[in-house]
Symmetry: C2
Subunit: 369 residues, 2 copies
Amino acid sequence: MSKVGIVAYGTIPFTKEDHKIESILHKSTNDLFQKNPNINKKEIDAVLVSTNNNSKYLSPILSEMVGIQPKIAHSIESLCNSGTNSIVSAFSYISSGLADMVLVSGAERYDSPGQILEWDNSRGEFKHPIFWASIFSKSYKQDYGISDERLAIVSVKNHKQAKQNPNALSKKTYTVEEVINSTKLTDDLRLLDCSRPCTGSASVLLASEDMAKKLTDPPIWITGIGQKTTSAGFTKNTSLSSLESTKLAGQSALKMANHSISDIDVAEVHDAFSVCEPMILESLGFTNPGEGMNMIKNLYETNNFKINPRGGLIGAGHPLGATGISQTIEIVQQLQNSAENRQTDNPKKGLIHNMSAAATSSTVLVLEK
Amino acid sequence: MSKVGIVAYGTIPFTKEDHKIESILHKSTNDLFQKNPNINKKEIDAVLVSTNNNSKYLSPILSEMVGIQPKIAHSIESLCNSGTNSIVSAFSYISSGLADMVLVSGAERYDSPGQILEWDNSRGEFKHPIFWASIFSKSYKQDYGISDERLAIVSVKNHKQAKQNPNALSKKTYTVEEVINSTKLTDDLRLLDCSRPCTGSASVLLASEDMAKKLTDPPIWITGIGQKTTSAGFTKNTSLSSLESTKLAGQSALKMANHSISDIDVAEVHDAFSVCEPMILESLGFTNPGEGMNMIKNLYETNNFKINPRGGLIGAGHPLGATGISQTIEIVQQLQNSAENRQTDNPKKGLIHNMSAAATSSTVLVLEK
């Protein structure tokens, strides 16, 4: 299998603005090309669009707007991990030899239809993720004796880190008390425990080994890929305090990269709600079951940005189809030591964790320079 | 690059019935597994859903319904050639080594939102494909001196061939006079010149070389792939009487398969409207520019099912996301000599042509046993 590298990226600030999806999509793609005038658009073989938006034919539309005539062009949807699904697809096109260079652009509007999964009656009366997040929170707190105050540190940490991310939706920091006193949505969930849907876009360009070496210094290589879908319905999850698909995807990705979790220097993980962050860290093996909050509290108190340096979904905002791509860009910047105020200490290996629908599906990527 | 074979398929009759997309999708997948009890669902690494339907997370939903826990799971959309885009993606997952076996299931409802491309203002007042089809028809007839009566033979031939396809939407045959006298939609288009959107589903299972040899006799190999997107907007087409993306995709596919067009024994081509069939045959090089109707008339008069044996989109119906997969199944059946009353004379090499939005995007596949 030939190596595949990430050679360029483009981003825009995440907002609550009301624009057409084609325009949102165009903005980060345009940013990518403006930052990298050395890229020859004629050499781009595929354009993959990651979105939950209902508009059709977005890849050919984006291609026409930016002046690409690709071989391969389509949209990819898998709710909240559409972005990393698209990146893995791009990897496979290059690795198989069908493409040398692939543009992956993700975009979403604040009112994305991907926020609700109509099909899943097991989510109860309201089909919003708030339902499963409440159950996860109750279960996790009971299983491990975690207080609301302790769990609130996830939100405090990620809002603090987002303050160093110029593209983040959130511009504020909060105390534990402010999180606890924010609007109570359910018995186990406050408003500030939730990531917020928003308008955003993010783009990356992937290339084959030869092309990557020509275009970037240093290219960032995708060395590990793991994916797993255990079900679609929330109640099919085998556990309410660990994430099976995340565990399996993490194991596969680390095995492919030939690393253990202790080799990972920096990670973006899918904190759709506060409770997700400790559950993910435990499922990936960063720490033992029930000890995720100890790790998070320690990172917060030592001002260590190792987990979710850009502020996670809670701080940066969650434009569904763009999220996995935005997470990937953060790890690229970290590995290239270009993350400015968010920069961690010269990381060599990074990890991205992106999931959908109560972790019924997860993607894990390992990146290295 | 390792070989990739098609090892199983499932289909259902195309109808105007009103079912939920999840149910439609499930039916052809279920048919595939019922026909092939030797397939171990645990060995399926990816489930790709091809559709224009707005429902989300269909791949995990389908996976849960049929009892698969895949690594890779997402939906793919590119209007009318979503199906072959999904098959090429499946090919790349296997060829890259990320997957050994991939299920591709396509489904659509009769009221698919993929019939209208809201974005394309260049289609004029009504955004339906009828607009571009009328302009193509007028232009093609003028350029080559083709009468309405002569063009009507496409519809007559394909309805006749569909009569031998138990899954076809159309159950009737028509004379040239009946086509000409059917409801006039525009100056250059009659109702019977149009393929009809419908409810349908089709599934194929792709596998790596070793697995394919174990599972099927004979496996049908995908030996050629060509794809091209020239634009999204209809008016960006460089010609109104040939199809640039089809020409380029056809050349790439034949080059990869190391064949010339004269080696192809049987083909499914995307006759969304009567005029498309001669234009496609000419763009693929089956015949010279302007001579497509001579070839079609000759095939019709000699009862030769070489082009669109299952009745094409005009005869079989056009469930957008399922169409490319259904075309592929027909070529598999032809190469396995199992096409019953539609069987052509022991074909060795087959071709599939599937396109979107006035041929702004085309896919061509070459299949061999």
